[in-house]
Symmetry: C2
């Protein structure tokens, strides 16, 4: 089937969305153009705006506007002395939804992967080490994904923490091995936090 | 969880997409902002462009750029004298993918629904009647959905066609090829029985 060029471009562009294949992209394009033109315009604007203004928090590296996210700006969270290390901003959301954690986060935006050229610097460990050195963190909770790379990254950061006299713990098993934090249900994730062990 | 305003707006905007709820929209927003900023910008542009340039074909009412779609512009299809009536542009795609039909289409962009104020004019039947009157159509194939409204609409158009001396046929409804009788709904099975053919 030959679509007109603008429709074909839209279908192609929609396919960059996670989980959207050719068939879903077609359905989305038609629905937007048939019945939701205002919504489509709103989505175009929201995308352009977000790309323009959303950057990374200077302190924790999560996605946010401005230079500091609302969690890093919260003094009571800073006072906790707890720092949770996660791989992605989506993991921050997942942990926040448990309502079990009232500390701060540090977002690696990835994990160590030497073969792909991703070393300590690429995941912000220089910044993290500076925070350890500043002496305001008592405990670091390693909540990287329970994968080979996530475990290796957790070990590396655990060593870094101990070097600076900071306690390190790893969230407990309960998160299915090989799974991704983002997709784990709240209860499991709560258990994993409560059952964390010295690392 | 509190998202920064631009991220919250993007998540809200993504939820207009069919089949996309809060969780998928979050995942999409993060993936776009973390790893696919160029793709996100491309999607914003494709959306804005499509909304700006895609309108309806003057002849068949499907979604297209310019005043006439590529199917209506194809002389060999016009020469067939066959006109397939469908409810939506997506149905055109579905029929085209069978590679069985080489005529033209007429897209109702809906079906008759008097209670919702959708009468013959709203689904373009004045335009369709003008085409019947022009004498270039020999047969109209009614491919509206096998629903109460789709059937009523097919009946209405069938009467209109006969009034202009145009043959009308309705696509067959029955058990899907490869489907199992046991899992087919009663209405479909009734259709299949009523539409049985000598074997
Ligand atoms: Zn932050
Ligand atoms: Zn057309």
């Amino acid at each position: 089937m030959q679509f007109s060029p603008a429709i074909a471009s839209l279908i192609r562009a929609l396919k960059i969305l996670p989980g959207v294949g050719q068939k879903s992209a077609q359905r989305m394009a038609f629905q937007l153009l048939e019945r939701q033109r205002d919504g489509a315009t709103g989505l175009a604007e929201a995308l352009a705006h977000a790309v323009a203004v959303v950057g990374r928090c200077d302190t924790c590296r999560t996605l946010t506007e401005g230079t500091r996210c609302h969690i890093c700006s919260d003094d009571s969270r800073a006072a906790s002395g707890l720092l949770c290390i996660v791989e992605s901003p989506a993991d921050v959301i997942a942990v926040e939804q448990t309502s079990q954690f009232n500390g701060q986060y540090f977002v690696l935006l990835g994990h160590l992967s030497p073969l792909d050229g991703i070393g300590p610097r690429e995941i912000g460990l220089d910044l993290l080490e500076a925070r350890f050195g500043a002496g305001e963190i008592n405990e670091v909770i390693l909540a990287t994904n329970p994968t080979v790379e996530g475990d290796a990254t957790a070990h590396y950061i655990g060593d870094l923490a101990r070097k600076h006299g900071v306690n390190a713990s790893r969230i407990a098993h309960g998160v299915p091995v090989g799974g991704e934090l983002e997709y784990v249900d709240h209860t499991t994730l709560s258990h994993a936090f409560n059952g964390r062990k010295s690392f």
